[in-house]
Structures are given as C-alpha cells and as structure tokens.
C-alpha cells in the first residue's frame, strides 16, 4: 500500500495539531502564569514553532523520499538514531496519554455527568488499536474531510463571541516585563511543538512544487486561528480567564447569543471532540511508528498491541488525574525534555542538510514533480 500523503493532507493534519491541545486547558494555564499578556507568549511561541517548520520543509523539499530514520542513520549512525527515536517515543507516549486524559475531562465536564474511567479507557484503547494500524493515508484523508467542519465551527465560535469582546483587556503591554512571558512559554512547552508530528511524515509526503505553499498556508491558518482564539478568549473573560478550564466550550456558553439561539455551543463542543480524537490518533500513530522502529522486527508487527498495553497499563495503574498529569507536563524537567525534542530535532535535521551538502557538495536536489505527476505516480 502506498503510504504517502499529499501536502494538503499534511497541512490539514498540521492544522489539527496546532489547534487541538491549545483550546481547552492550555489557555487558562498560560494566562495564569503569564497574566493578561499570555496571548503574546502564544504568538511568540507559535512564531518560533513556525520557523522550526521551515527546517522540516527544507529537508522535505531536498530529500522527499528520505524518512527521518533514514536521515538520522545516514548522518549519525544507528545508535544515535535509536536514542533519538526513543526520546520521540517517550514524547509522543506522554502526548497520547495527555490527549486521552484531556478528551476524558472534556467529555466528563461538557457532555456527561460522569463517565466510568475504565470503560472510557477500554473504548479509547480499542479505537486506538484499530486506528494506529492504519496507514498514514487514512489519517490524511480523515484530516482533509474533517478540516472544514472544525474550521467552520471555530470560526463561528469566534464570530459570535467577537461582539462581546472588550479589546482593552489586551492592555497594558508587559506590565511586569517580558520575563514572565518567556518563562510561561518554556513552562507550557507541552502545548506547542506542533510540527513534531512531521518527523513521521518525512519521506511519506508526496512532495510537489506547491507542497511548501500548501503546508505553510495551512500552518498559518492554524496559527492565525489559535492566536485569534486566545485574544477573543481573554477579551471575553478578562481576569476570570484563569478559571475557564474548558476554554472553547466555556466561551460559547458565556455568550448569550450562543445560548439563546438554541445552544450553538454544541457546534463547538462536537467539532472540538473531533479535533481531539483526530489529534489523539495522530499522536498514537507517531508513538506506534517509534515502537515499530525500536522493537525487534519479529515483535514490531504487534506494535499496536504493545502500544495499547503500555497506554492501558499506564492509564489504569498510573492513577492519573488531569491535574497531576498537568503538573507533570508543566514541570521544569518535562519542559526541558519537550524543548529538546521540539527544537532539537528540527535543528538536527538542518544539521543533516548541511552534512549532506558537505558530503555531496555538487549534487542538485531532485526535481520536484508537479501535482499532476504526483497523482499519476500515486495511481501507479
């Protein structure tokens, strides 16, 4: 089966990645640590993230057929490659667990009075078992189909809430200097690094002449959407923003219009659930791909079963609550680890590009196919 996906599909999955984790619990946490200038932190970190996206795109463009593992093995050898993938495995395992917990919290607080934790874990793991065994194309196509629903919903949410906003809430700028904002960006690193999923898209993307434009367009759309969301969110709630632990659902419930026009908030709630499930699946896919690489070949074909067992045991016996997992991912140790993965890996890829250039100084990059050629290739 051809596992490569189009650049538009990569773009939609990136869009989900940019928005998914940032619009539920993270806004309240960021505004708690950074104060009312938290939106500046978000815009700043999103900008840094975007510049790291360019690193991924540079290597995707130059070597569209090389996977991350190929590149690392060629440049740094097998051992370093395994160590890096092990780090990535831990990174995505934590993100998968965090997403599962966040989705549970969202379901429990918005849709149901109570959900049995064990039932939820069993159902979620059954879903993940099914979904991680699928190829990347399935994720790409799902992302493409669901993109418009989610984009429409979040745009609608912001449009209906914009009438209630007090934009003076964005001021004053830097009342306590820039340090709290920088510290918050570091502390909340878990909520960023959205382009890390591209590690597993390297070599699996049908890269064409227009791919860079497509991916950048979707990434900018995601960045703009989420930056606007943070601004609108603050301008609606003011200082009580730190009390809104279900940001997107709280925002729609806060607006009289949304509540009076027959519960418009359900649009946001369900679309957000879709986003969270898609993102959970993508993280689990990345987790699974890391396992496949690290496990011996005989065992690696059962990687999705191993993933389900590891995740299940961690969730059931870890005795996690969203609060204690949140305090773990906000700890200094985890923040350093997340920064190493999120910033270190794209910089390593840039270094690899340099190494390739030094090794073969006169080689030209392969000519990128047009969209039509890429489609024909895929059909073959």
């Amino acid at each position: 089966m051809n596992n490569s996906i189009s650049s538009k599909q990569v773009g939609t999955l990136l869009f989900f990645s940019i928005i998914a984790i940032k619009a539920v619990l993270l806004p309240a946490i960021i505004y708690f640590y950074a104060g009312t200038n938290g939106y500046i932190t978000v815009i700043g970190v999103l900008t840094i993230d975007f510049s790291l996206l360019l690193c991924y795109l540079a290597i995707m463009k130059r070597y569209p057929n090389k996977t991350f593992v190929n590149i690392m093995e060629e440049c740094f050898g097998l051992v370093i490659s395994k160590v890096l993938v092990a780090m990535i495995l831990v990174y995505f395992a934590i993100k998968t667990i965090l997403m599962i917990m966040s989705t549970y919290n969202f379901l429990e607080q918005v849709l149901y009075d109570e959900i049995n934790w064990i039932y939820y874990v069993i159902v979620t793991l059954a879903f993940l078992y099914f979904v991680v065994s699928k190829s990347l194309r399935v994720f790409g196509r799902s992302g493409q189909v669901l993109f418009w629903i989610v984009f429409f919903a979040i745009t609608l949410v912001m449009l209906i809430t914009v009438t209630n906003t007090d934009f003076t809430a964005l001021l004053p700028l830097f009342p306590n200097g820039a340090k709290p904002l920088v510290d918050t960006g570091f502390k909340c690193a878990v909520g960023f690094g959205d382009y890390t999923i591209l590690i597993f898209f390297l070599g699996n993307t049908a890269y064409t002449k227009h791919s860079t434009r497509h991916i950048i367009t979707f990434a900018l759309l995601g960045i703009t959407t989420i930056a606007n969301f943070y601004i609108v969110f603050l301008c609606n709630f003011g200082y009580s923003v730190v009390n809104q632990n279900l940001a997107i659902a709280d925002l729609t419930l806060y607006i009289d219009l949304a509540v009076s026009v027959s519960r418009l908030e359900w649009i946001a709630v369900f679309s957000w659930l879709i986003t969270m499930v898609v993102q959970m699946s993508v993280y689990a896919y990345c987790f699974n791909q890391s396992l496949i690489y690290l496990l011996p070949q005989k065992i690696s074909k059962h990687s999705h079963l191993i993933l389900v067992i590891i995740t299940g045991l961690t969730l059931i016996f870890g005795n996690f609550t969203l609060q204690n997992i949140a305090s773990f991912v906000l700890s200094q140790g985890y923040s350093i680890f997340a920064c190493v993965v999120q910033i270190g890996i794209p910089l390593l890829l840039l270094l690899c590009l340099l190494i390739y250039r030094i090794r073969k100084p006169h080689s030209n990059p392969p000519a990128l196919p047009t969209n039509k050629q890429a489609i024909e290739e895929g059909q073959k």
Binding site: Q109, V110, D113, N116, Y119, I122, V123, A126, F127, Y129, F130, S133, T168, A169, L171, P172, P175, F237, G238, Y239, S240, V241, N243, L246, A249, L253, Y254, I255, D256, V259
Partner: protein, 439 residues
C-alpha cells in the same frame, strides 16, 4: 446477506463496533434515564440569616423542573428550600429531600438577598463559579426575599402576567446595569474597577385574586394560595410548593398573590459586596450616559415656552449614542462622555393648553429649549459624578480603563493623590452633548 456477513467477518471496523457495543451495553441498559435522576434547576435563591446557628445560616431555594403530565409547563415547576452552612451543604440537603441530583446546567438566574449582597456575595457564589455542573452563564439579581421571588415566578402561569424573564430582558436593554452575569461578575471582582451594578427585583403581596380572573385556572390560583402562605410562614426553613398542590372552590376569593416588582433600583457591588443602592432617579439619569442603552428620556419641570406656561416637558432621546474618551491633561486623568441623540418632544403636562401647544409648527425644539435640555443633562451628569465621588463608586469602570490604556501615567497619578483608594475623586469629568431635533 450471507455474502455481506462473510465480508463483515473480515472487517476490523465491525469488530471494533461490536466490542464497543458489548462493553457499553451492560453498563447502560439497567440505568434509569438522566431526566428521572436529575432535578433541572432553573433558578436559585440565596439568603442568609445571621441570627440562626451557623449550620443553618444559609438558605438555598431552588426552582426546578419536575415534568408532569400537564399541558401547562409552569405547573411542573417546584420551589424547594433547604438550610445549611454553605451552598454544597444546602444542595446536599435539597438532593436528599427531592431524591434527585440537582442539575444546574439550565440555571438561568441566581437571586441573592440583600443580606448576602451586603455580606459579600462571592463567598456564596464561589460554588457556582467552580462547579462544572453549572454550564450556562447565569444572571444575577438582588432581591430582599429570594425565596418569595422564586415563588412569585412559580405562580406566573398565564401569558399576560409579568414574568421575571420579561423584566430581565427589559432591564438588559433599557436600564443601566453592568456585569450582571456570573462570569462577568466574577471577572470584575478581580479587576481594577471591581464594581458591578446588579438589578434589584422585589416581591410584594398584590390584591386578592378571584378564581377564573385573567385566564388563570383554579389550579394556578390555588398554587398562589399555597405559595403566599408559605412565603408568610415564619419558620419556612424547609418546604416545597408546587403549583397544583391543592384546589380551591371556584369563585372564592384567594389570599394575596405575590407580585414581582421591578423597582428600577440597582445594587452597587464593590469587590462583590453591596455598598450602595442607586435610586430609580439615579438609574434613569445614568441611562443617559450608558453606552449600552440606546434610548432615554429627560423631563424639564416648570418650563414656559411662548405657547405654554409652567409645564413639565418630557423629551425622548432616540438613536442615542454614547462614546467615552480617556486621556490625561497635566498628569490628571480626564474622562469625557460624548452624548449624541435625536430628541423628540413626547409629552407636555400642563394645567392649560393653548392651540399653539398642539401644533406641529409650534412644538419644535427650539435652540433655547435645546440649551435647557443640555443644561439639564449636564446637571444630571454633575450630580451623578458628585454622588459617585463622594461614595467612591466607579460608575464607568474608569480605574480599569486608565490602568489598561495609560498604565504608566495612571501609576504616576496614583502616587500623587492623597487617597489612592478613591482615585476618581481627583479626576476631571467632562461632558459633550449634541442634540438633534427629531420632529
């Protein structure tokens, strides 16, 4: 069919769904429906009596929906009351009493009593700001007797009666209030101005009502009977009333019916505590300067024009637009209200009318009358500002706005004034009024 089934055997999605059904089915099949286990609370009333023992000081009343087989939905509303030390305590008692879990997701209104407001409402509202059970943004109202207000609302069953909903809708568009929903109230508690203005709605015992009057059914009036009696009972520590509890004989004269009264007063809440009440006339004056309210009216008493003497002129302000300017002059904050409106003479109350006074030609708003109107508006503004200054009330949320817009200048200004707790005292207030005759 067999082909389809054999295909299904190889389908992972089929197995996934099958597993999900097998897991979920036993856990869900024996459960009673959510509606039967939950009392859908639509309004909450909070009152405090400091004379009672601490464990019974807080009185929490809820009006909840208990669906019944009747075409009139109002008959399904029930008011229940419980005493406790805090809101959680009271809700537990109520749940034990009703046998249902209190579902707050449809709670549209929280009524706090004068005492609660004076004691500091946040300590009683904290439960509602934390709970995820309350998923809607409830409105806040101050009342002398929250429980009676709930009972009065419960009595409303025909479309002609004044309901709380109508009053609140009216207030939202025509009366100066600020931060009247729970989230805004909560947010303002922490901001620099920390002042919100909540409507005051009370209850009074109306005239005795005869059965059958006003389209009300006998059931409805009997509900009124039971409610008013409950409202007057001295030890109404814990009781419940429903609209169709008892019946009364047709034609009999029932006791006083509880009536909802919108006095037009507004409670000034500073840091969550009611410090003052704005009188109806103050609220009416403030309506002119609120950017939320698009209409207003102004009365000029004992005015004489060439066609009429010593009359009260009422002028309606339509298409009113108000904008605020915040700036500094000589290191002193200056706040200017710009009021633009079309004005229309709506009433002349006089003892004697000449023919000229009803002619369209002679009832235009002249320049001199416009000046009188502007002077009157300015006088109202000055009175309001003086009242606000003397009582340290931030009517326009100025401390918040100046902090946000001119953070540094504002901090400098605070360091120069003698009383930093009353920063509006040294501020300069200006008004700019433009009135256009609307014919």
């Amino acid at each position: 069919m067999i082909k389809v089934l054999s295909k299904l055997r190889q389908n992972k999605i089929f197995y996934t769904i099958l597993i999900l059904i097998l897991i979920m089915f036993p856990s869900a099949i024996y459960k009673t429906s959510e509606g039967e286990r939950t009392a859908i609370v639509v309004m909450v009333g909070l009152d405090v009596d400091d004379t009672r023992p601490k464990s019974e000081q807080l009185e929490l009343s809820i009006m909840y929906l208990a669906p019944q087989s009747t075409s009139d939905i109002n008959k399904s509303y029930t008011v229940v009351t419980a005493l406790g030390e805090n809101v959680s305590d009271c809700l537990s008692s109520l749940e034990a009493k009703t046998g249902k879990r209190a579902g707050l997701s449809h709670c549209a209104l929280i009524i706090i009593s004068d005492t609660v407001a004076q004691n500091g409402a946040m300590q009683y509202l904290d439960f509602f700001t934390r709970t995820n059970n309350l998923s809607t943004n409830s409105l806040l109202v101050v009342s002398e007797t929250p429980k009676e207000l709930l009972q009065a609302q419960q009595e409303e069953s025909n479309s002609l009666s004044i309901s709380l909903q109508n009053i609140l809708d009216y207030n939202q568009n025509h009366q100066f209030t600020l931060d009247i929903d729970l989230e805004s109230f909560h947010a303002q508690y922490f901001d620099e101005a920390s002042t919100s203005f909540l409507p005051i709605i009370n209850v009074k015992s109306g005239d005795a009502q005869e059965s059958g009057e006003g389209g009300g059914s006998s059931n409805n009036e009997s509900g009124a009977n039971s409610n008013s009696s409950n409202a007057n009972s001295p030890d109404a520590s814990s009781e419940s009333t429903t609209s169709d509890q008892t019946t009364s004989s047709s034609g009999a004269k029932g006791p006083a019916k509880l009536e909802i009264v919108n006095s037009g007063e507004v409670a000034v809440m500073q840091r969550g505590t009611m410090t003052h009440k704005m009188s109806q006339s103050q609220v009416e004056a403030m309506n002119l300067f609120s950017d939320q309210i698009k209409k207003g009216s102004i009365t000029i008493n004992n005015y004489s024009s060439h066609s009429i003497n010593n009359a009260d002129f009422v002028v309606e302000l339509t298409q009113k637009s108000v904008s605020y300017s915040y700036f500094f002059a000589d290191s002193r904050p200056v706040f200017r209200v710009s009021l633009n409106a079309k004005c229309k003479l709506s009433e002349i109350a006089a003892h004697y009318y000449s023919i000229d006074s009803i002619s369209i030609v002679d009832t235009q708003i002249t320049d001199s009358f416009r000046n009188v109107l502007i002077d009157k508006i300015a006088e109202n503004y000055t009175n309001l500002i003086n009242w606000a200054k003397s009582n340290n009330i931030d009517l326009f949320g100025l401390t918040k706005q100046y902090y946000r817009l001119y953070s540094e200048d504002w901090t400098n200004y605070l360091s120069t004034i003698p009383d930093t707790k009353n920063p509006i005292d040294d501020m300069l207030f200006l008004i700019d009024v433009k009135l256009i005759d609307n014919g």
